[in-house]
């Protein structure tokens, strides 16, 4: 590879680095093309295989759905809605619940994480209890919330918030613990007060951790909202899924799943943007991989 490029460079001395750079660019483009070919090939294999196996009757589409049927169902859902109002309205209910739960959970998580991370006493007192609560399968709390708050949006928001809280909390807590001792000493000697230290050092330093946790946290917010809706609701994607399940309609379940995946991807993209904004001070490559 290298010998051919040097030979070609020597053969065309006038254009200097041109041929070598062009060769490198071509190699990079070829690599990208191969990656995309692999991706598309994989998708065609999986979806095509699914479609083929269900068409040939090797797999029963009644139980496992069929890609063409899922697509059909998706169009139906968007065009004709569901028995509990339009599909858009159901989507919006779920987004609303997940978003509210996400915000509440993330904010309380950050506040508690930062407070406990800074206070040795508080973290010693509360530490074991938080571990215990974390060990409980919190999704079950959904039942309690439904009993306590009815089948409106409140129990779903609470469930989403609980799920988000712990993820963000542990990350914020750890982030505060990881603050550079030297930086802390530096700021203390400069005369910073406790609140100034929190504002200028602790929070920005923990932010790397907190934002990394937000990526997975939104997924959990959606899970909280959906589970809440499956347990009991008047509207929402969880209810659409539950109804499809009761009607032996796997295509309906898959179609709704697809919509949820798009929502989560969208949120992920927004959080990525936010991360880019807030953490613009970071050196580009090495820590970027850490955040994933």
């Amino acid at each position: 590879m290298s010998t051919t490029s040097t030979v070609s460079a020597a053969a065309v001395p006038d254009s200097g680095k041109g041929p070598a750079a062009a060769a490198a660019q071509r190699a990079a483009r070829r690599r990208a093309a191969r990656v995309w070919a692999g991706r598309i090939g994989l998708a065609v294999c999986v979806i095509g295989g699914w479609q083929a196996f269900t068409t040939w009757g090797i797999v029963d589409p009644f139980f496992f759905g069929q890609p063409s049927g899922i697509w059909q169902r998706l169009i139906e859902l968007f065009q004709h809605g569901t028995q509990f109002g339009s599909f858009y309205q159901n989507i919006w209910t779920t987004i609303e619940e997940a978003l509210a739960g996400f915000v509440v959970g993330a904010l309380t998580g950050v506040v508690f994480g930062v407070a406990l991370g800074q206070s040795r006493y508080l973290s010693d007192v509360l530490g074991p209890y938080i571990k215990m609560v974390n060990a409980i399968p919190r999704i079950v709390l959904g039942s309690i919330f439904i009993v306590a708050f009815g089948i409106g949006v409140t129990p779903k928001i609470l469930l989403a918030a609980v799920l988000v809280f712990f993820i963000v909390f542990f990350n914020a807590f750890q982030g505060v613990r990881e603050v550079d001792r030297n930086v802390l000493a530096h700021v203390r000697v400069l005369g910073a007060s406790r609140t100034q230290i929190t504002r200028h050092v602790i929070v920005p330093s923990a932010l790397t951790w907190i934002i990394a946790s937000l990526h997975s946290a939104f997924g959990f917010a959606i899970v909280g909202a959906l589970v809440g809706e499956v347990l009991g609701a008047q509207s929402g994607l969880g209810l659409v899924i539950k109804t499809a399940q009761n009607n032996f309609d796997p295509n309906g379940v898959f179609a709704t799943m697809l919509v949820i995946a798009v929502i989560v991807l969208g949120a992920e993209w927004l959080i990525g943007k936010l991360e880019h904004r807030l953490l613009s001070w970071r050196p580009p490559s090495p820590s970027e991989t850490n955040a994933l």
Binding site: D180, N182, V183, A185, H186, V187, R188, V189, L190, G191, A192, S193, Q196, H200, V201, P204, S205, L207, L279, W281, R282, P283
Partner: protein, 286 residues
């Protein structure tokens, strides 16, 4: 700011300001509890005095408690026994009017160069505009005009040290504490930075305690060199450096006969300690 003015308007502003900057370290002892539950004595009866406006270098083998001493002078840590007095007042809590320059980078990576430098005045309650003006002025003085909006990771090691220097000096400290500030720099950059430090120091004349492993650096910069022993740390000898000031380039001064003579005398004292400490650590790690 206001309180400092009050002090200055007291009887004899000049002398008050001066006496403020005397550092008296007497009988300083620091013990730590190791994780195994044993008591480890890092410092034992360390005493020395830095007169106001003097530049004091502390040399000694690795692990002789130099940094521990500094953290107690700045008030980041408390002594087990003995005391540190700054301007006649015993240190408890962060010492007022002190600035600290660390060996490793202590800049906030999420703040720009300007943001890092203006922290000092902002923490002291200076209005933002005024703080910004003075931060710009200090960045100009350390030769970083035009780099205000960069982030620390975009700068070279030497430039980051300049930022740290501006951040430490912007409050015009009466005491400047430096823990091997140029330890991580290459030899040429170190010499340039030392020269610049001297010229900036001469503008504000704080009392300085400067830790270093580099005896050349100590003799070239300081009025007074304290040699410490290791395990536990204590003061072995104090040398006065009578090289005239201003000293100009740190690299030039190394060729003066008086410099070489002083450097030899101190090295004779220090060598024994370094060898002993080295034998200990080499034996310990085997």
């Amino acid at each position: 700011m206001a309180s400092r003015n009050d002090v200055a308007t007291g009887p004899g502003p000049d002398t008050a300001e001066h006496a403020d900057a005397r550092i008296e370290i007497s009988g300083l002892t620091k013990r730590f509890l190791t994780p195994a539950g044993e008591v480890f004595t890092a410092l034992q009866g360390v005493s020395f005095t830095v007169e106001p406006g003097r530049f004091c270098a502390v040399v000694g083998p690795t692990g002789c408690g130099k940094s521990t001493t500094l953290s107690m002078v700045s008030g980041l840590d408390r002594p087990s026994e003995g005391s540190v007095k700054v301007g006649g007042r015993e240190v408890d809590g962060i010492t007022e009017g002190v600035s600290f320059m660390f060996q490793t980078d202590a800049l906030l990576p999420w703040k720009t160069v300007l943001g890092n430098v203006l922290m000092g005045p902002v923490f002291r309650g200076t209005p933002k505009q005024q703080a910004q003006a003075s931060a710009r002025d200090w960045l100009r003085r350390v030769g970083l005009a035009g780099f205000e909006d960069r982030y620390p990771h975009q700068l070279s090691g030497g430039m980051r040290k300049r930022v740290a220097m501006a951040a430490a000096l912007i409050n015009e400290p009466k005491i400047l504490i430096m823990d091997e500030p140029f330890g991580a720099l290459d030899v040429q950059t170190k010499a340039i930075m030392s020269t610049e430090l001297l010229s900036l120091w001469e503008q504000i004349r704080p009392s300085v305690i400067f830790i270093t492993h580099d005896l050349d650096e100590a003799v070239a910069l300081a009025d007074q060199v304290v040699v410490m022993t290791s395990g536990p740390g204590s003061v072995k000898a104090v040398f006065d450096i009578d090289l005239p000031r201003p000293r100009g380039s740190v690299q030039e001064i190394r060729f003066q006969p008086r410099f070489i003579e002083l450097q030899h005398r101190i090295w004779d004292t220090l060598r024994e300690e370094v060898e002993r400490a080295y034998a200990l650590t080499a034996g310990g790690t085997e």
